[in-house]
């Protein structure tokens, strides 16, 4: 595997096949900067894309070049079950990760404070609301000190207030130099957060497109049709 010269990940003719069916094809370079949104219909392969980038699933053909440095991403899945323990313990789990830097109690407190959960540190994590659980997952991602954070529908099923809080944290992480790649069905949110967009339809990835360009001139008929159905403005 040859390292890519730029700060980007490259998926070269990647193909993922499950049960004799191609579920994702990708030939794309994703710059690791700012916030990238992955959009597309249900079942199009958005979560598969994130899992592929994170190394959680293998591909069947093609090349995956995870950037100049070996990509050490953090992945927050849409449904993140928590361990039956305190909020603090659920964060301290990260200490058992492979190749992790030393994490002090102060680091954990800081990560909890960053997402507004320090006052709930000793509470059972299972008693957290959906929004608090997502914030805890973000704190865990931040604590992993990853430059690339992958979020699978981070605000799905959250109320507007929790969604706002999550978006603030996501922007803050991006502002601190992390590149964020997230999936979403909420196009208004995509417009608020994203710098660039990847459209996935029927397991096929489009090129990375600037957000404004994407909304003004969708890169494909499928993307245009998707926007039309989702927004009704085209």
């Amino acid at each position: 595997m040859v390292n890519a010269p730029h700060k980007q990940i490259e998926l070269q003719n990647i193909e993922i096949i499950r049960n004799q069916k191609t579920i994702l094809t990708a030939n794309i370079s994703v710059p690791l900067k700012g916030i990238t949104a992955i959009i597309g219909p249900n079942g199009s392969g958005k979560t598969t894309f994130l899992k592929l980038v994170h190394g959680l699933i293998d591909f069947d053909s093609g090349n995956y070049l995870p950037g100049a440095d070996k990509l050490r991403s953090a992945l927050v899945l849409h449904h993140t079950p928590l361990i039956r323990a305190s909020v603090r313990t659920n964060l301290a789990i990260i200490r058992d990760s492979e190749n992790i830097h030393p994490i002090s109690d102060a680091d954990i407190d800081l990560a909890l404070a960053d997402v507004g959960l320090l006052n709930l540190a000793e509470q059972s994590a299972l008693k957290l609301s959906a929004g608090e659980r997502q914030r805890l997952s973000l704190a865990r991602a931040k604590l992993q000190n990853s430059k690339t954070i992958l979020l699978d529908e981070p605000t799905a099923n959250l109320d507007p207030s929790s969604t706002d809080q999550m978006e603030i944290i996501i922007k803050k992480l991006a502002g601190q130099g992390s590149s964020i790649i997230f999936t979403s069905h909420n196009l208004a949110q995509v417009e608020r957060l994203a710098n660039q967009i990847i459209f996935i339809s029927k397991g096929s990835c489009s090129e990375v497109t600037d957000k404004d360009v994407f909304f003004k001139n969708p890169p494909s008929k499928d993307a245009e049709s998707f926007l039309h159905h989702e927004l009704g403005w085209l």
Binding site: H54, L56, L75, L77, T80, P81, I83, R84, A85, S86, I93, I94, D96, S97, E98, N99, S124, L126, K127, R140, Q144
Partner: protein
């Protein structure tokens, strides 16, 4: 029959030394076997649950089958291993509490491991992907799976204790039911009943029931408090 019960309660009230001695040996042997069985069985069951390896299904079938092996069979096998001409004969553990602990440990390990395997497999279904996504080390994954399922696993420990404290076949064969040495509650109950000394048998039976009830109560209390604390 009423006089037997009356005499049995008198033995309990007076804290009869012979009775207490038998209870002490029983608890010492069974709790030691339970401790070793848990230390070996829980990680073993967890490993089988969370790791994929060739022949895993066969291992699961064997483990499940071993749960139901008659205690006398285990007793005979351990007897043969510990007998003077057996491979472990040099240990001189036959007719000692050490031999009894070994026999009961062999009974508790498969039971605890098999039940643990099922519980941890269910827990893996819930947490497996997340723990993998967090890039936890393989042993750390198992550690956190056990930690998450710890209250459910208390049932496996209880089952192991019940298996050990209530069995009679293995300790009878390996221990020899020697007075003040290897006589446990169950072997004493069998012996005293056959001799017609019902008060001692009844008194030991009541203690045995009380011990099992107490263990259940403790586990129930721990689960209740834990669920209130951690949900």
């Amino acid at each position: 029959m009423y006089s037997s019960f009356s005499d049995a309660f008198q033995l309990l009230e007076t804290l009869d030394a012979k009775l207490l001695g038998i209870v002490f040996i029983s608890l010492k042997v069974s709790l030691t076997a339970l401790l070793i069985g848990s230390i070996v069985g829980i990680p073993l069951g967890s490993l089988i649950a969370a790791r994929q390896f060739p022949g895993r299904e066969l291992v699961v079938i064997i483990l499940n089958s071993l749960m139901g092996v008659p205690t006398v069979i285990v007793g005979v096998v351990i007897y043969l291993l510990l007998s003077r001409t057996g491979p472990l004969g040099d240990l001189n553990w036959l007719f000692t509490t050490k031999g009894m602990v070994l026999a009961q440990t062999c009974l508790t390990i498969p039971l605890i491991a098999a039940l643990t395997r099922q519980i941890i497999e269910d827990t893996w279904q819930i947490h497996g992907e997340t723990l993998t996504a967090l890039r936890l080390r393989p042993l750390a994954k198992i550690k956190w799976l056990i930690w998450d399922a710890r209250f459910s696993l208390s049932i496996t420990i209880l089952a192991g204790f019940a298996r050990a404290i209530s069995e009679v076949g293995a300790v009878m064969i390996v221990g020899g039911n020697i007075d003040q040495s290897t006589r446990t509650m169950t072997t004493a109950i069998a012996l005293e009943t056959s001799k017609g000394d019902l008060p001692l048998a009844l008194a030991l039976g009541l203690v045995l029931l009380a011990v099992v009830l107490f263990a259940n109560f403790v586990i129930f209390l721990i689960k209740l408090l834990a669920e209130r604390r951690y949900g």
